[in-house]
Symmetry: C2
Subunit: 460 residues, 2 copies
């Protein structure tokens, strides 16, 4: 009756009295989530169906678990998608974000809950009333960033506010880095632990935030030189650059009194100033293509420099006013930007070529361990006194298959799914996890997995 | 029969044996063109119909000339546009460029020639075969830049090539500046003599050109610091920044041997480094809006700077590493960027606000004289010797109503129209003025108006 091996053509559970969780997408970030679901399947009497365009990938994720099934999912095939979603009680979508609205529409039609780790899009937001009217929860931003950042921030905000504090400043940074033990010769202290393309394109557009009561804009060309220095206990100095729009969090977190509100991305020191050189050069541009032919790495950089007789490396230093032995050049040199190695692409945008060059050194190896760092800084007034509370989280991955990134994205999704199926979340509509009924039990359970925030507080 | 005052409702010429020229658009750039047409109307037995959405503006342009008529033109009214074009022998379109393809389609239907001063769009290019098959000329890029630049370059290229020269490098820059006598306290030596919005948005995107055999890209954030220094006889030092795509001119000019090909825009010294500060700040961004309220000029700059206690002016210097008494700050200060004057807009993009602030000092006054400078540099080999030929043009305007800009855009259009009606242009299809039958007589006649290139040649 429970046909686990029905050629992956579709999910075909026989029992409908138990709860069925459908996971859409079995990519890199799905392992920890699926492991969590499998581990709780017996206790919850769950069936788990993992669907992917590559059913073999889905099959690999479920480890032949008797309560799980791997299915083919082609989102372009509407009847296939509808059938799959129709069999679920709750859908967890790990698909690329542009699919989420479509999935949500099917969920509305078929009266299913939906959980994602992606930002609420404008289209998703429009479905709020419909979801509410159908008694459905469409919970988004329930991974790491966005996800754990919301939950941990709200927990502190609630605690400070309840005890009479008035929060006047909130800064929050998260970064996916590599563990200190990994790749010791890599001066960037960074590898691609997430979508490499998003890393290369990061920050394009204009960032906006609030600083000392003033609205501030940062154009892309200044983003990586306008950093916030951060000290994280146990890690040391890091630096953060601003994310696109920090202002919306005033509403989401109910921080109506803050005069400073800034969210951003963490990197190790000197990452940003070296990346700033790439931005200034123009190599992160994705708007036009270049024919590569036998273009070398150095030849690629040459495209963006005034012509001259001296080596590319020397001319870059002069043009950008860089110290040849400085932090920036050390990093660019290590990444091979001045080498005679062929790029090895036919025709691509500068952003794609840059990603390709970086990936030669930044691809995660099997034994590599990534590391997630999250850091919040609250300033608040209680009575006549101002306080500063810093809260930080450091999570190291086990290896390239069990990254901290996948764990911290997957566990909140899994826990929220369990809470929902257990009837412990009453909120409905399009939501993010800022309600106490969600963030408190999720944060509590995350502690069992070593996902524990550390706090330090001082009077100012 | 020739009803000049028929309430501007449409052109209504009675005689169809004479030639009728329809001018679409009676804006700022039309005066010199219309004056030229009126001056030659008797000799050519022409009727001239000037059409605009504001027929009063059109009426003003024709000075009650007995062979001219002013008409209403609403391009959104297809039958009105068709009727007008239907009465013509040749149409000159001075409309905003996005209208040209529509005009060209009517011209195809109605079998009329078309002349414009605008760049050939991709849509226009697609009409080439149709125009050819209908024995029609759709001549574009026949103003100043593009226009006189093409013609003067081709004249030199043809002369050098005919005498056995092989051109290996071509650089060409044009600028709409102000005359030395105008606004002596203005350190930019610049005012808005053309569409202000285009000036503020100039260079967004990526410029590409050829330098010493190598393809080169310049991102927007580097464009205004990557200048070419130019010496123009009678004017002195100027500087040029690259235009968007110089490479296409290899084909257009038949310059298959060049290893350097660069076209750009001329400005007075230190304009570019000061403008570079605005680009770095992000104030030319047109992708989002800011609520102005009682925002001052200094408050606008403040939006783009890290918060601090010192005055905006001082913090800008420190942030950008500028000398408070240097060229850049002198220009920004003169433009009022640090003043407490209210911006005076409700809600606008940074680019619109910047345009608005600049326009307070850069709007052309009645007595102001603009100045056009065009400069070409050819390097070529003849025998075993390399030569460099520089060719330059300087044209001063009479006043704000008779700008050098309008004259140098309008005269080539007028002369080309006359040549066409006299049967002296045999070329058909979508074209730009690089054929000898066009550029030679146009350049020759332009000399009568003081539009004369000056050449200097040296052996290298």
């Amino acid at each position: 009756l429970f046909e686990k091996d029905k050629k992956f053509s579709s999910c075909a559970f026989g029992f409908y009295d138990m709860s069925t969780i459908v996971v859409l997408g079995a990519g890199r970030s799905s392992a920890a989530l699926i492991d969590y679901l499998l581990a709780h399947a017996d206790a919850g009497d769950w069936r788990i169906c993992v669907a992917d365009l590559q059913p073999d990938l889905a099959r690999e994720r479920i480890h032949a678990h008797p309560r799980a099934e791997a299915c083919l999912l082609d989102m372009n095939n509407e009847s296939m998608a509808r059938e799959l979603i129709g069999r679920s009680d709750v859908v967890i979508s790990l698909l690329p974000p542009h699919w989420h609205t479509q999935v949500a529409r099917y969920c509305l039609d078929l009266k299913k809950h939906l959980i994602t780790a992606s930002y609420v899009s404008d289209e998703m937001r429009l479905l709020h009333a419909d979801a509410l009217n159908n008694n459905l929860l469409f919970l988004n931003e329930c991974g790491l960033d966005p996800g754990i950042d919301h939950m941990s921030a709200m927990e502190v905000i609630s605690r400070l506010t309840t005890s009479g504090g008035r929060i006047i400043s909130f800064e929050s940074f998260t970064g996916g880095l590599i563990a200190p033990s990994t790749d010791p010769g890599n001066p960037w202290r960074y590898k691609f632990t997430w979508n490499p393309r998003n890393v290369v394109m990061a920050g394009q557009g204009t960032a906006r935030y609030l600083e000392l009561g003033q609205l501030k804009f940062i154009p892309y060309s200044q983003l990586f030189r306008r950093i916030t220095r951060v000290h994280v206990p146990g890690i040391g100095e890091l630096e953060g650059y601003a994310n696109r729009d920090s202002l919306m969090y005033r509403e989401i977190y109910g921080l109506h009194d803050v005069n400073t509100l800034l969210r951003g991305t963490l990197r190790y020191p000197h990452f940003c100033s070296a990346w700033h050189v790439l931005v200034q050069l123009g190599v992160c541009d994705d708007t036009y293509e270049v024919s590569c032919g036998d273009l070398t790495h150095a030849g690629f950089v040459e495209l963006f420099l005034p012509a001259g007789n001296r080596p590319v490396e020397e001319r870059l230093c002069r043009w950008m006013g860089l110290d040849p032995d400085g932090y920036e050049m050390e990093r660019l040199r290590w990444s091979g930007f001045f080498s005679a190695e062929p790029v090895g692409l036919e025709r691509a945008t500068p952003a794609r070529i840059t990603e390709h060059i970086l990936n030669k050194r930044w691809a995660l190896h099997t034994e590599d361990r990534d590391m997630i760092v999250m850091w919040h800084r609250f300033r608040y007034v209680r009575g006549q006194q101002m306080f500063e509370l810093q809260s930080s989280l450091v999570v190291e991955g086990r290896d390239a298959a069990h990254t901290a990134m996948a764990t911290t994205v997957g566990l909140p999704l899994g826990i929220a799914t369990r809470l929902l199926l257990e009837g412990r979340i009453v909120q409905r509509g399009v939501a993010v996890p800022v309600a106490e009924e969600i963030y408190r039990p999720v944060l509590e359970e995350l502690k069992q997995y070593g996902i524990i925030f550390r706090e330090e507080e001082v009077m100012l």
